[in-house]
Symmetry: C2
Subunit: 168 residues, 2 copies
Amino acid sequence: MKLDEAKRQFIETWGTLGSEWGINRSMAQVHALLLISPEPLSTEDIMEELNISRGNANMNVRDLMNWNLVQKNLVAGERKEFFSAEKDIWEIARRIAKERKKREIEPVLNKLKQLQDAEVDAKSAKGKEFKKTVDNIHDFVERMDKGVDMALRADENWFFGTLFKLMK
Amino acid sequence: MKLDEAKRQFIETWGTLGSEWGINRSMAQVHALLLISPEPLSTEDIMEELNISRGNANMNVRDLMNWNLVQKNLVAGERKEFFSAEKDIWEIARRIAKERKKREIEPVLNKLKQLQDAEVDAKSAKGKEFKKTVDNIHDFVERMDKGVDMALRADENWFFGTLFKLMK
DNA sequence: CTAAACTTTCAGTAATATTTGAAAGTTGGC
DNA sequence: GCCAACTTTCAAATATTACTGAAAGTTTAG
């Protein structure tokens, strides 16, 4: 297989995976492209490789930087900006987990806490079931949240590192 | 807070979370509604509570059954079908993990394996970086896949149960 | 067998999300 | 200060996804 064809397939695969997980396709594709590029790429390069517009390329690179997955590299003697991706997949996973926790899990956790505390009349069967469900889900989400915290704390990496190796 | 208002907020929260994770909003909302309902609901009930059309309700209930999160309940003396959701949140998580693994992770894993095996010319810097990236990601995704397998195997639940309790 | 009660399908419509491209904004060198 | 090189923004266009409602299909009781 030609490298170009393999690249195309990789970018496509990563894009599909992204969109199945709520990340927009182009963003995942830009990410994929930067992942396999040995040196930083300019907006221009990205536009060409993925056949997307300047605006789109710019926006997605920007988003990736907000996710802390991509950084700006200034190349000596060049006026334009170049971008490169974090390459360590474990680090990538940690950063994504961190962001999604903050953006998505924490708000849900707060909402659930609120619903738990809201004195809802729990005499009826409906009230009881509601309370029980919210309690259980709250408990579960809280544990997941704590679990992610644990996984993110550097000093506990030995633990997850070991667990991770177990999975081979 | 009134129960109805709390319900509304819960359904909305669950719907938002769903859409952030690639599950469509209505499906997550139907699921939320069934989760907090002490007894099975008919299509009619779902339509009313969520203000959605018959077709939509039917389709989403159907999808939830494909995900193995909802089941049909036949009520004696009633002609119509009633639906109820699995209530154990740990079980819900397991079923979702199982499905997503099958539908989303496995195809990616296969594709990565394919790209790894495809003899791509790895002499250039580009070829080397490509190979390295694909190898790393393949390894990572494979471990995650194995990890999910482990978590799903009943006889290893004691392990994850313990881990889970640690997260309190 | 028939009709009512119910479920499923699906073409058309509506809502949402993404992308474009050109104009506006910014920056750095001279 | 001014211009060229570059980046950012955003309204409009396009593409994607979800929803509706009515018609077609199915089931069951009588």
